[in-house]
Amino acid sequence: MTRPILRPTPLATSIERRLFLRQSLSVGALALLTGCDISDNDQVQRILRFMSRWNDRAQAFLFQRDALAPTYAESEVVRDFRYNAYFPVADVPKLSAADYRLELSGLIEDKRPWSVEQLHALPQESQITRHICIEGWSMIGKWSGARLGDFLKRVGADLSARYVGFQCADGYYGSIDMATAMHPQTIMAFTFADETLPAKFGYPFKVRIPTKLGFKNPKWVTTMFVTNRFPGGFWEERGYNWFSGS
């Protein structure tokens, strides 16, 4: 999910030695890279996409069903947790408990929609884990909610299917592999820092997956579906790796 764009600040130019270093660095690297940034070549893009799909398979192979993400102490929880989406915080979907229904679709037996009240009545557990963004920043947070795996069993999802997909109220969409969906730390998080999940963090729930990067944790989920057809995702179509496991 997006954020304010960070721009590297120019190096201090007042220091002569640094200027010299930068210039020599520039000349050397210019020779190597300028006109050599072939990233935008169509053939190169095809190769990079192929490698990314290969990395999906490699990461699925590395994924251990019972390896738990490290957990932290209450004292390590970040108080001022970062809001992160591809639009400003003022534009976040404000869903009301009265109107909200979680729709179920695809390879699921019981597709009756779920209200917030029903969701909140599910058995819950909490976790203090590290949220790692694909940009490189990370923050420790505390989430509580119902295990996604238990929920999928309860609604009669086909657990041999390959993917679980999500549609969100903000237009965002994404999908994960079934193994990750069934991981004990993958939860439908209803609270953040012991309080009802605020609108900016995805009310009524976000899927918290500590074994995946932040953008694989969808917020404001309105539809959940199970499928064997690769559903892709919002950021994946913009070039990010689909599996993006930690």
């Binding site: 590297p8 520039s26 190597l32 890279l33 940034d37 990233s39 790692i132 490189g136 500590p210 070039g239």
Partner: protein, 232 residues
């Protein structure tokens, strides 16, 4: 240094690089450059160091910046990551092959060893005074140590990189590097060590171009190359 009458003729020396080693060298060079270029773009997105420093975008790999901003609202990070995680396989497989062949064939033992403290000190002082001659086909002690050093830096950077990529699946490794955040710092300084090596490596190749010939064609010969001021 001219062969004046009465002085023995300088020995004609030969530098040989078998084809396999040359291929591995250039594959490694390419993979490392891609890793550095894309890594710099990734670094700029969220710098790991708490200082005001970023790499100028024109030095980085990750495609059209303004197109990325317009289309996907990011600075080519997705492209840089695709490069990084693509070239990663090339780098790792190539390095593994190089290590296995290097140890098994005796290349490391023959060419990179021994390094005695005395020889290192002698060669290091000579290098500082620009009096270290380059003998084709034979590495001096400073050179040997530098090759071990850069090999170590590459391995450190690969391992810290793996611990950033997989802080859950490889959490023991991440723990060894002081946790996710600190592993990013280690990864940065590993890169810095490799770049420092590259600066020296390329500069010396320019000073003694026959080494480049050997690394391309497999063979170069010549009389001992002494620094210019000794040749007067």
């Amino acid at each position: 240094m001219s062969a004046a009458a009465g002085e023995p003729m300088p020995v004609r020396r030969v530098q040989l690089h078998p084809l396999g080693r040359r291929i591995m060298h250039w594959v490694n060079a390419l993979a490392i450059l891609v890793m550095i270029g894309s890594g710099w773009r990734i670094y700029d997105q969220y710098p790991a160091l708490p200082i005001d420093f970023g790499f100028p975008y024109y030095l980085t790999l990750g495609g059209d910046l303004s197109a990325s901003e317009a289309l996907t609202n990011e600075d080519g990070l997705s492209n840089a990551l695709a490069w990084h995680f693509g070239a990663m396989w090339v780098l790792v497989l190539n390095i593994l092959a190089y290590l296995i062949i290097g140890f098994a064939s005796g290349h490391f033992r023959r060419d990179f060893l021994p390094i005695t403290p005395r020889a290192f000190l002698r060669d290091f002082v000579a290098a500082l005074r620009f009096r270290l001659e380059h003998r084709l086909g034979e590495y001096n002690a400073v050179q040997k140590l530098l090759y071990w050093g850069v090999l170590g830096a590459i391995l450190l950077t690969i391992l810290s990189g793996l611990s950033i990529w997989k802080p859950v699946q490889l959490q023991e490794l991440t723990w060894l590097f002081g946790g996710y955040e600190f592993a990013r710092v280690v990864h940065f300084f590993g890169m810095a060590a490799i770049v420092s090596f590259l600066v020296v490596h390329v500069a010396l190749t320019i000073l003694v171009p026959s080494t480049l010939v050997a690394m391309i064609l497999g063979r170069a010969s010549g009389t001992p190359h002494a620094p210019a001021r000794d040749r007067r």
